[in-house]
Amino acid sequence: MAARLDAALGILNGLVGDYLERTGNPLATPMVCQPREGLPNSSKAVVLIHGLMGTEEHWAFENGDDYGSLLSRDAGWAPRYLRYNTGRSIAENGVALDAVLEAMVARWEGPLDEVMLLGHSMGGLVARAACHVAGLKTSGWLPKVKRAIYVGTPHQGAPMERIGRVVSKVLKAVPDPYTQLIAQLADLRSDGIKDLGDADLRDEDRARRVASVSLKDPHHPVPLLPQLRHLLIAGSVSQTPWLAALFGDAVVPLGSATNGLLDAKILPGILHMPLAHRPEVYEAISAWSRE
């Protein structure tokens, strides 16, 4: 029951979390980073950051395992699970994650040699936003991050949101009160969802937003940090190259999830949501994290 309620709140936060936050509604999910009971601590932390409308439950396999618990068992990583309001802008969540990680590193029991970030979908963008903020502030946790893993992350934006933006603009232009109402309802989607269109990581990126189906600028103004090693994992609906290129994982196109990198890992047949809890993805993560 509690898990279902949490899942419902995760969806509500993804849809209108920015509004809940602005109005001080207690349903707005505060950002928390927690360990899972029964898993040992170590000097290596992996922080799992879920995607839009999610909670940490999205990582769970049917048998209760998840990438964090498996990394703990196989390679001694101490997982920490982030829960946050995915309706807030990615920039706001990046600032909040910077503070949460700073606190986590400061309060860590024993030595902490390395922090690895693992984000699914929007979670990868929040990780990137936090790294950007930490780089500007020279936060203490950033030097401990040597690796980051992005699973189904729309590094170059999500065309479905860009299509929604155009539809909303077209509806607004129709001088009919009922159509205007539909446009207003369509525009209720949260800042977090709107940020996914062009993968906007900073407040200033959102100011450049235009209603266009094509990406405003394929060269993102916030590049992947060069001092980190990055693993990009993309799913695809099909093994057929043109289908995979066209539809990606059914939510994020291949080019966006791989960010154009040739060494990105592409897993045919795995759709967007299952990317958060599939053995094939774990195998890729596990092999790469041992390198």
Partner: protein, 83 residues
């Protein structure tokens, strides 16, 4: 308990904002036939009067909805805060 306060709050906001949106639509929809009637010389004056009465009625109805909404949700808030 905090979550129930949040649910009540979001319901209150939904009714409040929904009522404002519907009020706007009802007035804008009525504006079209009234604009035609008000352009017809002989019935222009009575049409303007009926238009004003219509708009006032719509406003009063939605104001009453919003008032009741605030009173009811305010009362529930009080009950929840004491529970």
């Amino acid at each position: 308990m905090n979550r129930w306060v949040g649910v009540v709050s979001i319901l209150r906001d939904a009714v409040e904002n929904g009522s404002r949106a519907v009020e706007k639509i009802q007035k804008e929809t009525a504006n079209r036939p009234f604009a035609v009637l008000e352009a017809l010389g002989p019935i222009s004056a009575p049409a303007k009067t009926v238009h004003a009465v219509h708009d006032a009625t719509v406003t009063a109805t939605h104001t009453a909805i919003r008032l009741v909404n605030r009173v009811v949700t305010g009362a529930v808030d009080v009950v929840l805060s004491k529970g």
